[in-house]
Symmetry: C2
Subunit: 666 residues, 2 copies
């Protein structure tokens, strides 16, 4: 008798599970159809997995989306955004209605084509560029352990779940991410791979033969394979993954577009509406006789109940937090406000720079500045893509982060610029921490996919990019950035600082730390630079550009320079003075900040005399500041391998070269 009852209950449960998943499928196909564009295949294929995951495993409370100890969910296959939006609606996240789903991919809707952090509640990170979600999730999982090491597992103990597609696993950044995750034994990271065997061009057998389970296992992951349409198998695998101390991959063999009888399992269902007749067939196939966007009350209520499932756990957590005596510290930490802590020490440091006048590389000044910052706040998490002692990113007593030591504050990211940048995005998104990471400026190329997301998501990530010109010398053109300053300046919502000395370096760092919604690049020299003569009171770097030297008697010419070329401009001004030419010198450490200054201030800095810009980089963008009458002294092609001084001479970026250019203008 009890067996029969169990069977009845099981059948009912299975039916309930199936209807829950079909609700996702129906919303996905309806929304894509209405939008006349989008990706129905993935949501329909992974609906069963998502239903099991959110109804049984993810720790969250839809009514409190910001609960600090919630599990994070990342849809790395971001084109399947309707999966996420359907979940957000079904689970009852506040403020997302069925009308929002009807507005999928429309202007100003809450349901853009790909999930956007800060735009839609419940979206933990922006995804779409493949592999980014997976690599960002590694950062989220690192941050969770870092936070736990500081506040204890009773307050911080959550998981990071990822749904990734074939494309995510083909992208190179996935290798960097899984290698790092395996190395750090991120056991709370669980990746569900939508193993549907289909990519845009056709079957994945067109382009890949990798045994993904073996590949992940080789990087220290726990791996399992399930039928992505068998809820019990999925649940058992998730339970096993939760128990395993290693990060977990669950390969979910799925049928893309599951439920659309004429198209499922084919690449045509990946990224285009099903069409009215196929949707009709799908409704019949799925046993879903409802109108578009209609979810029967019982199914919706079951989903809403799942959305409330974590409420008691959240309340218990809040009690634990209150009882722990750490509540204020925890909440303060999450605010991520470090400006108070660093202001006075950085001011003192600037004063000492002004007194001691160090002549060191700005990468070295940055190390000194970081020493002060890292002593003043615990929020910073440093690191480098295996160039620690070239980037000078480590300071005393930080301690290396490892699988055994998440109390550390320094991450050896390995030779993985892209993975580092994406992980830093995750660490920043997780809250509280201020991640910074180093590599050579030229290798920002490798990380651009993730740097762009730092900017798009408005995350305070600091890129310490050293060896920022031909000044790196002998390593030659493969290592000498030329176009990188321009290409980073072209990115919206990114501060690109190129400080000229120790003081500007300290100022740049202070601005970067205070910029809570803007990432920063610090472009730093390999070669030594003297400390400039200038008034100290104000953070002049915050002006973007300022007059460093104003000649008495009015300007004949204005020399504008950044970073290591400011000293060349100063020497050129000296030379010009001996030739009867009065040159002003402007230091311009941050274009983006200069653009925000008043027209009056900008005009006072730029002046009305002809202008010569000096930067050991590509000209692109400089015409904005030098105007039609101006001239540029910099690079016109790639660099070369030689000692730095020889290169500056070869390329004419010298005091004499600048002076000659200025005189030719006049």
């Amino acid at each position: 008798m009890s067996n029969v009852l169990e069977t009845v209950a099981e059948v009912a449960a299975a039916e309930d599970e199936r209807r829950a998943a079909n609700a996702i499928r129906a919303l996905a196909m309806d929304a894509v159809e209405k939008a006349k564009s989008g990706h129905p295949g993935m949501p329909m294929g992974m609906a069963d997995v998502a239903a099991v995951l959110f109804r049984q495993f993810v720790k969250f409370d839809a009514s409190a989306p910001d609960w600090a100890d919630r599990d994070r969910f990342v849809l790395s296959a971001g084109h399947g955004s309707m999966l996420l939006y359907a979940l957000i609606y079904l689970l009852g996240y506040p403020g997302v209605s069925i009308d929002d789903l009807k507005n999928f991919r429309q202007l100003d809707s809450k349901t853009p084509g790909h999930p956007e952090f800060g735009h839609t509640i419940g979206v933990e990170t922006t995804t779409g560029p493949l592999g980014q979600g997976l690599a960002t999730a590694v950062g989220l999982a690192i941050a969770e352990r870092l936070q736990a090491a500081r506040f204890g597992d009773e307050i911080v103990d959550h998981r990071t779940y990822v749904i990734a597609g074939d494309g995510c696993l083909m992208e190179g950044v996935s290798h960097e991410a899984i290698d790092l995750a395996g190395h750090l034994k991120l056991g709370r990271l669980i990746v569900l791979w939508d193993d549907n065997g289909i990519s845009i061009d056709g079957p994945t057998t067109l382009s890949t033969s990798t045994d993904q389970l073996a590949r992940f296992a080789a990087s220290g992951w726990h791996v399992q394979r399930v039928d992505g349409h068998a809820p019990a198998e999925i649940a058992a695998a998730l339970a096993a993954a939760q128990q395993d101390a290693r990060p977990s991959l669950i390969a979910c063999r799925s049928v893309i577009g599951y439920g659309a009888p004429g198209k499922q399992g084919k690449e045509t269902v990946h990224g285009a509406p099903l069409g009215a007749s196929e949707i009709e067939l799908a409704r019949a196939e799925l046993g879903w006789p409802y109108e578009p966007f209609e979810i029967p009350a019982e199914t919706l209520e079951a989903w809403r109940a799942a959305g409330r499932r974590g409420e008691s756990e959240r309340l218990a957590w809040e009690q634990r937090l209150a009882a722990s005596g750490k509540r204020d510290a925890f909440e303060n930490f999450l605010k991520g406000d470090v400006s108070g802590a660093v202001a006075a020490p950085l001011r003192a440091l600037r004063e000492s720079f002004a007194t001691e006048r160090p002549k060191v590389a700005t990468r070295k000044s940055s190390e000194t500045v970081l020493g002060v910052i890292n002593a003043a706040t615990d929020a910073t998490i440093g690191g480098s893509a295996d160039l620690t002692h070239s980037n000078f990113t480590i300071t005393k007593g930080l301690g290396s982060v490892s699988a055994e030591n998440f109390a550390g504050r320094y991450i050896h990211y390995g030779v993985r610029e892209h993975g580092m940048a994406a992980a830093m995005n995750g660490i920043a998104l997780h809250g509280g921490f201020v991640p910074y990471g180093g590599t050579f400026l030229v290798f920002s190329d490798y990380a651009r996919g993730a740097i762009r997301l730092s900017a798009l998501m408005g995350q305070r990530v600091v890129y310490v990019l050293t060896h920022d010109s031909i000044g790196l010398g002998e390593d030659g053109p493969t290592h000498q950035p030329i176009e990188h300053l321009a290409s980073l300046r072209a990115l919206p919502n990114l501060y690109v600082f190129r400080p000229a000395d120790a003081i500007e370096t300290a100022e740049s760092w202070e601005i970067a730390l205070n910029a809570k919604t803007t990432p920063s690049v610090l472009s730093l020299s390999r070669q030594n630079l003297a400390t400039l003569e200038r008034p100290l009171g104000e953070n002049l770097t915050a002006r973007g550009a300022y007059v460093l030297r104003e000649p008495s008697g009015g300007r004949h010419v204005t020399l504008i320079a950044t970073g290591s070329e400011v000293q060349i401009a100063l020497a050129a001004a000296d030379l010009l003075w001996t030739r009867g030419v009065r040159a002003a010198v402007v230091s311009m450490p941050c274009w983006e900040l200069f653009e925000t200054q008043s027209p009056t201030y900008r005009a006072s800095v730029l002046g009305s005399a002809p202008r010569v810009a000096v930067e050991a980089a590509a000209r692109l963008g400089w015409d904005r500041w030098i105007g039609e009458r101006g001239a540029f002294v910099g690079m016109t092609g790639f660099g070369a391998s030689a000692p730095a001084d020889a290169l500056y001479a070869r390329f004419g970026i010298t005091a004499e070269g600048v002076a000659g250019t200025a005189q030719a203008l006049l």
Copy 2:
């Protein structure tokens, strides 16, 4: 007795092998010491491997470095350049003397800090940015099979050898490369991994735990492990690798800086001179009592003999080629001259465009153009990073390249933009073929590391980058390029074409095919664009910019636009005309080519009236063309998810917006 003789012979051979390797070590440490910078650790650690490889396995003839059927050798760990330069000198490549080694890393020397293609004889590809060599080697190995499928194994039958370091294997691009290589069963690709356990920050255990052998095996590679200081083991592994049908990885456990007793095995030996006293100790340790840069005659002669080892094989090959009846075809193919074949068909196509006036997306025009090109020449090798039917990169009858079909002409690169770009570099370097590959413009970010090398090496690689603005619409800001045109234009030696219609698309393609030492980007629209009214005779795109419409009565204003915004500029000019404002319209499909025009021509195009530029992208760089009195209509931040028209309206990139901006200027 014979056993004794064998033993004596073996001891002598081993001693010979040891001295051969020590010659590399000595040259590396001496050159780095003299340069006062460089990387002695890797050449000293891998000297034994390199000696076995070049003295016994690589098929080459130092006296004929351009022999088409030579094996290719790629030093992916490019910082170990002294290994390669030592080999080139010791093997007797023409024109590289001991003085060149003494000039290591000096201005204009033949021995720059990292190996540079086209700069030093015997260097097959530029390396230094980690992982690039490995990924480029995959392209070399693909090209070898493509060539063999066309000319037969009796003419094309060579291997590609790679020495890669820990960093190469940590970089994400390595995953894309090895997955593709395994999938295509590139059995002639043999990678020797310098498994020294040391990276710059310290032991690799700081940042990685991946079992590399298992990882490569998961991607279908043949894997072996050897003692990197045991010549017999190395030789046996190489012999086995040659026999195996899969690509091979040989993990060579080595001691970094082998022979420097105080520093070997430590990160300090990686990237800095050993210092005089350590060099003295190393000479003693290695039994190498010679002066700096001195190679004893016997050892040098043994190396030179190895350099001549392949001469008879080369001569036999030349006889086979002559006897095959394919010599002319083969030599013509290698010239890579496709301009003759495509000129007439492309002219006819332009004429038909002018007659038929298609209103299609430029990505679609590009497909039509490619149809003509691919029919006119067999040299093109197409592909896409899994966006074939969005990039429109495939044309009729190309046939997919697979492990079973290298007669195909289309490569499904998978979701691997970086690996695709690097492979295309390899295919171009190999000679003859013209590789082109597609992805979305925004995902050029993922490939920048390799695009930069296309430009630095001067390789004719064509990047077909579609969906080139907010015009892609609903996919939203993650997929909408903003800064990409600027960042690509900032790269030296790269043509960035943004054609406005079908005719400009055909013209851009023709220039790209004829640009034998410059890679090209074709930035193509998703949305439909009308064919412009213009004279047909000249390839006007080759001018970089030209006047599309000159108003009678002289200009009040000049509107400059590219790509999909040219039609907006034309509509704005119409609007302005009705308001009594006479606007010229300039199409500017290629900045780089416009810069090379005469000042007179440029002035005639730009005119003296105020100028308004229109481009749905970042402003950076445009001030060069609009001047201080000018204005820019474009993007100031990231895009959004909505239908394209709604986005153009939202961001004010409309005829009315441009007209209003122009009127405000006047």
